[in-house]
Structure formats: structure tokens, C-alpha cells
């Protein structure tokens, strides 16, 4: 009788409302295998991972672990079944020691499983992961991020996991740290553990994994042996057909556009000597996956990262980084990617939010001029297509798309503006809202502002950018005009990583 697969997922379907997040997807995993899950944002990878780790429950389908049918009820139950998820976001408690973190939430005491939580056993676990220099009594927060990631993996192992899910484990790591994670993953496979490796980084997948499964729009595209694949083969599977939409050819460059020169920008820990020149009148898009550094570049330019260094000149005047107030005084306006936490003043009205960054310009003698404010609000509302009667409505009660429009509109149409920064301008917005938001941004660029935005989504990049700058691991991979860019070339560069991965 052949050995059963470590994991089999059969015909799994999960719907959220009208959306089929995964649609009759099957997937299997052999003992000792490292298996890649690939696909765009929203392709269905994370839903599958959530089902396996007990976070969500499938509408239909079967899950078998070592030939036994199971249905993980919650993350704790999944853990008992031998499934460990190492999330992209670290879940360690940084004020505790390494040992305390390893024991945190451990099931062993209550269930009396085999294995041991003795210091010796934990020590051996760390040594196996190349952490022999890390003391069990060391405060976790003092370790570099990469080693914290390894401690997370150690924690998963200390629970006798048979299936280890690594979700974008390298997104925020340096090359040296990535090498450590790789060595650890190979070590796991050698011990017969099975690893599901979720990543956008094709180079890593090609180096590390035996098989790769590709999803697109909630459906299974296929499972292939990595040995038979190359980069372009995977890109093709991920893309299917992407409509070559968007603006072809450049908008007319307005007279006297702003010219922004960024030289030697560094944002610890990952971005060093970032150089870019932006000419007003063209929309420059920073394309890259989560952790590529695009968001950090925008935040640094917006004055929100005190540690950022480098010179940024806007048409000859030098920008002082590290203070949002000073940067704004120079005509730089930043729209963050998290509209609820950092973008909008949710319990204030639409009108208040629209003019929040331009109050000094609407004031005389320290007091706000109502007529001037009214004029501005009405003009901005007309641009967003939100009815002027709703100006007094609490922003928090709007739909996500309209909230995002308010946030974007807040930055535009200001006489003092010279550079506009949009971090994921259409995040979590439906197709219609996205088109409106792109229209707002195009209007702003026509006035000669330098416009820089970031996006992890290929469609958005292709739709909005005149100049496409792809980023990977904190560095620029390529700069192309929209006319010479293709979906495949951009996606390849966004998931670039061959020279990083030469293992």
C-alpha cells in the first residue's frame, strides 16, 4: 500500500457573499515536500491557507491529513492536528524572552503529547535552525527580524507540526536572513516535515520548492514540478490573460512642471541609496509586492519616517525629511494606505476631512473663512462625484470607495501642492470606485504636480501609471514607460529575485 499523502485537500469551495474565494480547488502535499502556492492578490491562496489553519471553514470539500479526514475547527484545533502557520506578520511578544515565546500558547502541557518543552529540547530546535548563537533567555525584541522569523518557525516546530505553512516568510527580510530561512526550510524537509510556501517571489520558489501550485481568481490553474518550470512559465500561469488596458501614450506635459530629484534615499532597514527623478505631469507608479519597499519610500517622502536620510529636491528647493508638517509646508501631500487608521478623521464630516490639510489657506487672521471653505468643499465634492448635500455626513458612515475618494481628494487641487504621494490609492475599492479615483489622480497630474503612487496590483499599475518603476526587496528593478511595458514584463520584475536567491 502506498504511503498516503501528508495532506490532501479535495474540491474545496469557499464563498464570501457573491465572491467565490476558492472554487472547487484540490491540492496535495507529500511528506518531506516544499510546495509553493502562487497567485496574484485575491487569487485564493490565503483563503486556502486559512481553511487549513482553521481560521475559516470551507463550504464544501474534504481535508485529509495522513489519510485521515479532518476539519480544523479553529487555529488551536489545527495546531493539534499538526498544522502550524507562520504568518507574514510576526506574532512574537517582543518583551518576552525567546524561551517564553517558544512556550507561549504551547499545547503540550495540557495534552501530554510526545516531545518535551525542556530547555535542552528547545535549545536543539534553535540549533537546528542555525540559531545556535541565540540564548534562550535573550529578549526577543533584540533579535534581528530574520531571526525573529526563525524563532516563529521554531515555535511551530516545538509543537510537533507535520505541516508548516510559511506565508511570505521573506517579504521583510534581508538577503542574509533569507538564506537562514532557506537553510531552515531545507532542514525541515530533510526531516520529513511538509512545507507549504506562499510567496510572490518566483526566484525563491524556483530555488526552494519541488512543486508549485498556481491559483487565479479563486480557481486552480495547475500544479507543476518546479524542475519543469522557468520564470516565464510561472508568470504565464499566474497571468492567464490580462487585458492590456490603460492609457497608451503620455498625457501632454504641462508648462513648467515640477521636477523632483530623489538621490541616495535610505530608509532603514531595507532601502539604501534609492534614486529616482519624477517629472510633473506624468504619473509615476511604484510596482512591487508587499515588502518591496514602495510604501516606505512614499512614507519617507511624506515625512513620516524620522530615520529616513537622503536628498530630495523639488524644482530646486530642498525637502527636509522626517517631519510631516515641514514636508507639507513644502507642498508635499501624502495619502496613507490605511484610510481608517491613518487617513481619515472618521467621526468628522466629509467637508472637514476634505479641507483638513489646507486649513491655513482657507483662513484669515487665524479664523476659518466659511465661504472659502464652502467653495473648496463644493469643488472637491464635484470632482469626487459625491453629492454636495452629503457634505456634513460623517466620513465613517461612507462606503469604502467613497471614503477613499475623500482621502484622495483631500490632497488634490491645492495651489500650494507640488508633489502628491498616494500609497495604494485604490486599496480595497471596487472596480467602479477605482476608475473614479484614478480619474482624480490624473486630474491632479495635469496641473503640473509630481505624482508618485504605489501599488501591489498589476492591473492598477497598468491602468494608472505613465512611468512604471518596479521594486523588489528595497531596490528598483526596472523603469519603463507605460508604452513599452507589458503585463508579463512588469510581473516578472515585481517577482524578480534571481540574483538574491543564488543559493
Amino acid at each position: 500500500m502506498p504511503e498516503p499523502m501528508r495532506l490532501e485537500m479535495r474540491e474545496i469551495t469557499k464563498t464570501y457573499g457573491n465572491l467565490r474565494a476558492v472554487d472547487a480547488v484540490s491540492f496535495d502535499l507529500a511528506p518531506g515536500e516544499v510546495h509553493a502556492l502562487l497567485g496574484h492578490n485575491g487569487a485564493g491562496k490565503s483563503t486556502l491557507v486559512k481553511i487549513l489553519s482553521g481560521v475559516v471553514h470551507p463550504d464544501s470539500g474534504q481535508v485529509l491529513i495522513d489519510g485521515v479526514e479532518v476539519s480544523p475547527r479553529n487555529p488551536r484545533h489545527a495546531q493539534e492536528l499538526g498544522v502550524a502557520l507562520v504568518d507574514q506578520e510576526l506574532s512574537l511578544v517582543t518583551v518576552l524572552t525567546v524561551e517564553e515565546n517558544l512556550l507561549l500558547g504551547s499545547l503540550r502541557r495540557s495534552t501530554g503529547n510526545s516531545g518535551s518543552t525542556s530547555p535542552e529540547a528547545l535549545r536543539a530546535l534553535l540549533d537546528d535552525l542555525g540559531l545556535s548563537h541565540v540564548k534562550l533567555s535573550a529578549p526577543t525584541g533584540n533579535l534581528p527580524i530574520g531571526e525573529q522569523q526563525l524563532v516563529e518557525i521554531a515555535r511551530a516546530l516545538s509543537r510537533d507540526a507535520r505541516i508548516i505553512i510559511l506565508d511570505e516568510p521573506t517579504a521583510t527580510l534581508s538577503e542574509l536572513e533569507i538564506a537562514k530561512v532557506f537553510a531552515a526550510v531545507r532542514g525541515l524537509a530533510a526531516q520529513g516535515k511538509s512545507v507549504i510556501y506562499v510567496s510572490h517571489r518566483l526566484g525563491e520558489v524556483l530555488t526552494l520548492c519541488q512543486r508549485a501550485t498556481v491559483f487565479r481568481d479563486g480557481k486552480l490553474v495547475g500544479t507543476r514540478n518546479v524542475a519543469e518550470l522557468d520564470r516565464s512559465g510561472i508568470v504565464e500561469m499566474m497571468l492567464g490573460h490580462v487585458p492590456e488596458s490603460g492609457r497608451q501614450g503620455l498625457a501632454e506635459v504641462p508648462a513648467n512642471p515640477e521636477v523632483v530629484t530623489i538621490t541616495g534615499l535610505s530608509v532603514p532597514p531595507r532601502i539604501q541609496s534609492f534614486d529616482l527623478t519624477i517629472t510633473g505631469g506624468q504619473i509615476v507608479g511604484l510596482a512591487g509586492q508587499v515588502g518591496c519597499g514602495a510604501s516606505e519610500v512614499l512614507r519617507a517622502l511624506g515625512g513620516l519616517i524620522p530615520e529616513a536620510r537622503g536628498t530630495v529636491d523639488i524644482s530646486g528647493s530642498r525637502l527636509t525629511l522626517g517631519s510631516p508638517g515641514r514636508v507639507r509646508a513644502e507642498g508635499v501631500f501624502f495619502a496613507p494606505n490605511d484610510r481608517k487608521e491613518e487617513g481619515l478623521f472618521l467621526s468628522h464630516s466629509i467637508a472637514d476631512n476634505l479641507v483638513a490639510t489646507r486649513l491655513p489657506r482657507l483662513s484669515g487672521g487665524g479664523f476659518i473663512r466659511k465661504s472659502l471653505q464652502s467653495l473648496n468643499v463644493n469643488r472637491l465634492l464635484a470632482l469626487t462625484g459625491i453629492s454636495a448635500e452629503r457634505r456634513g455626513t460623517e466620513v465613517g458612515s461612507l462606503s469604502g470607495g467613497n471614503q477613499q475618494k475623500v482621502l484622495i481628494a483631500r490632497g488634490i487641487e491645492q495651489e500650494s501642492s507640488r508633489m502628491l504621494l498616494f500609497d495604494e490609492p485604490a486599496r480595497g475599492v471596487d472596480v467602479g470606485g477605482r476608475a473614479d479615483i484614478h480619474e482624480l489622480i490624473r486630474g491632479a497630474v495635469a496641473q503640473g504636480n509630481a505624482v508618485l503612487f504605489s501599488s501591489t496590483e498589476l492591473d492598477e499599475i497598468l491602468d494608472l501609471a505613465d512611468i512604471i518603476v518596479t521594486m523588489f526587496a528595497g531596490r528598483i528593478v526596472s523603469i519603463r514607460s507605460r508604452a513599452e511595458a507589458t503585463a508579463a514584463s512588469i510581473l516578472t520584475d515585481m517577482t524578480h529575485g534571481s540574483e538574491v536567491m543564488s543559493a
Partner: protein, 328 residues
């Protein structure tokens, strides 16, 4: 007196009226009914003399509470040292009278604005916890003031300017009441209409969003504390004039009373919501409760107990209502 019903900090829009809202509404109605019943059954409450006493009692607390409203709305909780600063300001005023009336007032206001403004600068620049900073600053002021004064009371200089009008009645109404009205009107207009005021509301609503939008966080925080400092100095001047002597213990429960006035008025503890008008109403309610208990023969500890209960209830309800209490 319906102020309490709307004091809830609405962090998230909630279309349906849920159980917490009903609870808040119910308790507010209960509160108003009890208060009204008490006033109607207490002899002498509705006499001209008593109403005057209430308004007078509300004045000093109210003036300070107007300043405190700025701090609360800016999202920096409270200053816990306004009482001691008011006492020190009273001493400063009486001492500075030797330079003349106008000079005395200016020096005292500059002193109050500086002392409390510096605490705001510290809070705004370092992000330090305002409660801890102001407690520390309070102890510091007490120590320095005791050291300089040698622990004895400060008296106005012989032959100094006549300041008695500051405490006496004008057209039958005590002078502090006029000052209270003036502070409420000016404080209210500045908060609602000025750029500074608007930015304080925004910052209090979400400090992170305020930072990302490039609002001058340090300047705004300092500004909110400076406004409080000015109000505290004004109150200090009136206290000094009334007592005709200045001691560190002159201000009693002023800190707690002014915080109570802000909260009972319905300004959200978490910042971003509220108004000076609400605080003025709050100050009157607090004074009325004190007066009521006094007329019914309850002692000072009982008054403090009732006030403490009301404030605690208001704070708990505002959290329950904002959904923050259900994080589990």
C-alpha cells in the same frame, strides 16, 4: 441638561441604535428626572439668591474647565495639576500687584500660560503621558512654591492698587460670573471657528491621521495647554482677589471639579468631540448638584462622593457606548 445623552464618542458610524445607546439614554433621562425632582422638593433651591450662588460657584470651576476642554478635545486626557497652578497663580497675582493692576494681571497670565504650556510642549514633543507629566509638574510646583514662599501665605502689598472689584458684585452679580461668561464666549468661538480649534478637533479624533496629514502636533498640543494655562491664571487672579491672601491649599477640589464639568457636559474623554458650551452646562450641573446636597444638609464628603459616582458612570458609559469596552 440633555448634554449627557450626546456625549458619546462615536468612533465608528453605527446606523442602528444598540443596547448601549439605549442604556445611555435611559440613564440620562433618569439622571435628569432625579435632579429635577430633587430641585423641586428642596426648599429654597429656586430662590434668586440660591441660583446666584450656583452660578457664582460654577464660575471658577467653569473658567478652568473651559481651558481643560481644549486639552480633552485635543486627545491629551486631562491636566491633573490645574488646582495647584491656580493657587500658585493667586499667589503670583497678589505678589505682582506691587507693579500695578494691569502688570499684575499680565504677569500672572503669562506665568500660568508658561507653566502649563511647558507641560504641553513636553507632552506634544515627546508623546509622554499627559496624566503623568501633569502630576509630576504639580508636585514640582508645590515644592518650588513652598520653597520660595517659605510656606507662609502671600498678601497683597500695602498701598497697592485696589483689586476688590474683582471679587465684588457688579450690578448685583458677582464679578467672576461676568468673567466666566466672557471666557465661555471667547473660548467657544476660538474652538469652533479658528484654524487652531479645528485642527485640535482633528488631532484629538485621530493623532495618527493628524500626523500623516501634516498637522503641527507639537504646536497644537502646546497650544491646548497654553489655553488652559490662561484660563487657570484668570481663575487664580479671581481666587487671589477673593481670598485677599494666597496659599497653596486655597483651591481644594478645583482639579476634580473642572474635570467633572467637562465630562458631565459631554465632551468625549477620548478626544475629538465636545464643546465649550457643553462644558459651561457641565459646570452649572456640577455646581447645582453641590448646592442641592448642601441645602439638604449633606457634608462635603458626600458631595464629593456623588460627583465621583457621576463622573465614573459617565466615563464608563462613554467607553461602553463607543464599542471600546467590548473588546474582550
Amino acid at each position: 441638561m440633555s448634554a449627557i445623552a450626546t456625549m458619546t464618542p462615536k468612533r465608528t458610524a453605527r446606523p442602528a441604535v444598540g443596547a448601549p445607546q439605549r442604556l445611555v439614554f435611559g440613564l440620562t433621562v433618569l439622571f435628569v428626572v432625579v435632579l429635577l425632582a430633587a430641585t423641586l422638593t428642596t426648599d429654597g433651591f429656586y430662590s434668586v439668591q440660591n441660583i446666584k450662588a450656583i452660578v457664582n460657584a460654577a464660575s471658577l470651576v467653569g473658567i478652568i474647565a473651559v481651558g481643560m476642554t481644549y486639552i480633552v478635545i485635543s486627545g491629551n486626557l486631562f491636566s491633573l495639576s490645574v488646582g495647584i497652578t491656580a493657587a500658585v497663580c493667586a499667589m503670583t497675582f497678589l505678589w505682582a500687584l506691587r507693579f500695578g493692576m494691569i502688570a499684575g494681571i499680565i504677569i500672572t497670565i503669562a506665568f500660568g500660560a508658561t507653566v502649563i504650556g511647558l507641560q504641553g510642549l513636553l507632552v506634544g514633543y515627546t508623546g509622554a503621558n499627559p496624566i503623568i507629566v501633569t502630576i509630576g509638574a504639580g508636585a514640582l510646583q508645590e515644592a518650588v512654591a513652598t520653597w520660595i514662599s517659605g510656606g507662609v501665605s502671600v498678601y497683597p502689598p500695602d498701598g497697592g492698587p485696589d483689586y476688590a472689584f474683582l471679587a465684588g458684585p457688579l450690578l448685583g452679580i458677582p464679578f467672576p460670573v461676568y468673567v466666566f461668561a466672557g471666557v465661555v464666549i471667547i473660548g467657544g468661538i476660538v474652538l469652533k471657528r479658528s484654524t487652531f480649534g479645528r485642527e485640535i478637533y482633528l488631532m484629538g479624533e485621530s493623532p495618527r491621521a493628524g500626523r500623516a496629514a501634516g498637522l503641527p502636533i507639537t504646536r497644537l498640543t502646546t497650544g491646548a495647554f497654553v489655553v488652559t494655562g490662561i484660563c487657570v491664571a484668570i481663575a487664580g487672579i479671581l481666587i487671589g482677589a477673593f481670598n485677599q491672601s494666597g496659599t497653596l491649599t486655597a483651591t481644594g477640589t478645583l482639579t476634580v471639579d473642572s474635570i467633572s464639568a467637562v465630562l458631565v457636559g459631554g465632551t468625549a474623554v477620548v478626544g475629538g468631540r465636545g464643546s465649550v458650551w457643553r462644558t459651561a452646562v457641565g459646570a452649572l450641573i456640577v455646581a447645582a448638584i453641590g448646592d442641592l446636597l448642601l441645602l439638604r444638609g449633606y457634608s462635603t464628603p458626600v458631595q464629593l462622593l456623588v460627583l465621583g459616582l457621576i463622573v465614573t458612570t459617565v466615563v464608563i458609559l462613554s467607553y461602553v457606548n463607543s464599542g471600546q469596552g467590548r473588546r474582550a
